[in-house]
């Protein structure tokens, strides 16, 4: 059983497609999970379809969506870190490492999950991965938690090889679909309760993949 997982991601909804099933599964197994969400996704251009948000109202809306997603997954410890969407790579490295370091000291995670710093498409995703790696790299090897990374550039498998961690989340599709649907300003996934367990859904959403990051 994984003892404690610290998730570090930049935007509300970064957890929903690639991680929500795994977290729901681990929580059901007794794992403690903390989700540090760096920003409120203030600069997203999706405003719902039909449109219900604007640039001013979006951050608070996404905050509520994040809480609803976490409720669906079963996460009760969410830390909103107060950074601004699109600016993670420009923030002071030392200051960010200090804050992430404080979380690690407080929680003593056995596993940290974030984005891969090179193959995650969005600059904030890459920058978050880089910040987590900078923080963990400073730790003595014996104390350092395992790091799992999500990646999804078109060339990620070519560059990294196949993901070494594959999690079957078919038993947690309801949690995952609930997480995706919570972020309704960003995603519209029309699924009703009897479609949730369908073969199509299992095929599309039933496996989550991670690369274990090596500090050597």
């Amino acid at each position: 059983m994984e003892r404690q997982i610290l998730v570090v991601l930049p935007h509300p909804d970064d957890e929903c497609f690639g991680l929500s099933g795994t977290l729901a599964k681990r929580i059901s197994e007794g794992t403690q999970v903390t989700y540090a969400c760096l920003t409120l996704g203030e600069m997203a251009r999706n405003m719902g379809n039909p449109v219900f948000a604007n640039r001013v109202t979006l951050p608070q809306i996404r905050k509520l969506e994040l809480m609803e997603s976490c409720k669906s997954i079963g996460i009760t410890d969410v830390r909103m870190m107060g950074y601004h969407d699109k600016t993670i790579e420009f923030e002071d490295h030392e200051a960010m490492s200090k804050r992430l370091g404080e979380l690690i000291t407080e929680l003593n995670p056995s596993l940290v999950i974030t984005f891969h710093p090179l193959y995650s498409v969005h600059p904030d995703h890459d920058a978050t991965g880089a910040a987590v790696i900078r923080t963990l790299a400073k730790m003595p090897k014996e104390q350092r938690p395992t790091l799992h990374c999500m990646a999804f550039t078109k060339d990620c498998e070519q560059m990294l090889g196949l993901p070494d961690v594959k999690v079957d989340v078919t038993a947690f599709l309801k949690h995952k679909i609930g997480s995706i649907q919570a972020h309704r300003s960003q995603w519209q996934l029309p699924v009703d309760s009897n479609m949730v367990e369908s073969d199509a859904m299992k095929e599309r959403f039933g496996t989550e993949r991670f690369w274990t990051y090596s500090f050597e």
Binding site: M47, V56, K86, V121
Partner: protein, 114 residues
């Protein structure tokens, strides 16, 4: 947000003239433009809570609209504006949405920071 009522927006632009204002000005293709279609450039730009003062400003066109604000040494310009928040009596909140409802451009003015 509601479709822009040009005359009403012009009244707000006139009211906010000749004073220090916080501006949010933005244009975006979204962060995934070239990931989804590699013939596209992923490009976006924004200034958030910059400070400007304009002496002249207007909203032109017949929809989508263009706004130009004449500032001391230059201009603020935004094209492609389609919607505004008519309920906000203190600030000017303008946006341009594409036909999928995604934000493409944004121009916001306020006496207080956003």
């Amino acid at each position: 947000m509601q479709p822009i009522d040009q005359a009403s927006v012009q009244l707000v632009i006139d009211r906010l003239k000749d004073q220090e204002l916080y501006i949010h000005l933005e244009m975006t293709t979204g962060a995934y433009a070239s990931h989804n279609d590699d013939s596209k450039l992923t490009a976006s730009t924004f200034i958030r809570n910059g400070i400007i003062r304009y002496t002249l400003g207007s909203i032109e066109g017949s929809g989508p609209f263009r706004v130009g604000l004449k500032i001391n040494e230059g201009w603020v310009y935004s094209q492609g504006l389609t919607h505004w928040d008519e309920s906000d009596s203190e600030r000017l909140i303008l946006a341009g949405h594409d036909n999928e409802g995604k934000l493409v451009v944004s121009l916001q003015l306020s006496k207080e920071p956003f």
